[in-house]
Subunit: 225 residues, 2 copies
Amino acid sequence: MFSLSKTNLADTAVEAIRDEILNRRWAVGEKLPNEATLSAMLSVSRGTVREAVRVLASQGYLETRQGSGTYVLSAADSSRPLTMARRAGLRDQFEARLALDAEAARLAALRQTPAVIAGLRTLLAERGNHEDGDKAGFVIRDFAFHQAVIAASQNSVLICMYEFFSTLISETIEATLGEELPEPDMAAHAAIVDAIESGDPAAADAAVRRFMAPMLSALDRLLLS
Amino acid sequence: MFSLSKTNLADTAVEAIRDEILNRRWAVGEKLPNEATLSAMLSVSRGTVREAVRVLASQGYLETRQGSGTYVLSAADSSRPLTMARRAGLRDQFEARLALDAEAARLAALRQTPAVIAGLRTLLAERGNHEDGDKAGFVIRDFAFHQAVIAASQNSVLICMYEFFSTLISETIEATLGEELPEPDMAAHAAIVDAIESGDPAAADAAVRRFMAPMLSALDRLLLS
DNA sequence: CTCATAAAGTCATCTGATGACTTTATGAGT
DNA sequence: ACTCATAAAGTCATCAGATGACTTTATGAG
């Protein structure tokens, strides 16, 4: 976790410059000192400064203009969204999942076909029930089912969002196992598929909310105690 | 949009190496040729190769081990979700926005306070109406209002998702201006705030859906014609 | 005051060299 | 044969200096 002294100079330089940017040492649009000066400030060679600057440029913090200088492009922490989301409370994670799952179910209901419904039922059958044994495998199969619901929405942006936050979502699934959270049973899962098959978006939305409700209220009870 | 020939050598090297990684030229865990060989392969100096490798290492593709070599860490395209989402159809983008906005409105209704409601109304007043003049400024102010609704949900994951896809969302807002899409007026925006103030999550959800419905159906008409 | 031109400033790239670390080869001792 | 310390080779990390390309600023003639 810590990288005190064991990291190389270039990475140290990246950190140093990034910190200065985030601390608004230079305003957005402002020009940084030239490479020679930076190299003197950080006590590293110009080549090392260039490696650091190029990394920060590739991450959107800086922009170099040949013949002119190096400029601050943005002081926004681009990696913050994901890391912050990971640190967020479980309650927040469930609520965010609900937003994606519910909307996807709505769209899936509007666009359902017999083939897709059959695919969902197959995945549900393969998923089986959780029996303390293969926890990791169960998480994967459970996630596959939920991902298939998202895919059934045929909305590429939702699919991307789900993929982007997939590690997060796997963690919420994992959290329900082995904890005091009620793991939704087969019937609750099947209800979602049934609602999608009915073609009624509101019903599909409601099915997902009924599915998540026990977990959320159990979570509230845990947080209060 | 294209950067044919105008790009510098180091960026070209990054592209070249990244492409080879994504095309599985080297398996995950496999060692790349050493710096001297890469520099010969790409016809650039060793320093340029180092800059490229360090960028790819900072993005999680490569890992360098001093004294040993450079290894492929992952062949997964980490930027795919965002770029794919950007390429998605406008309809998909609106639907995804609806998922986040609707759920955020629900939560905001549950957690509303007079201060937050007042803040939303202030933002709405500042936003004003679109009058052909300052298009960029209007987009920023409109986005600020929608972002404030998300913030009112007090859900950090939703806030992160919104921030992550903020460029996408700005584009959907921009798309409604100057196009044949109906731009929701002040009353439609105010209705969302009113619903949140009422404290009824279902009403807040419905308000957002009513808000988006005209845009979605207009979009459908455009796509059919 | 205008504008072409020179000068200065800065990044882009190359070359060569040295140090640090890792991996592999070696060979003596058992 | 086997073990293991040691040497050798391979590789990345870093530095220093030099040249070219591009941008910005200063200059001076008209």
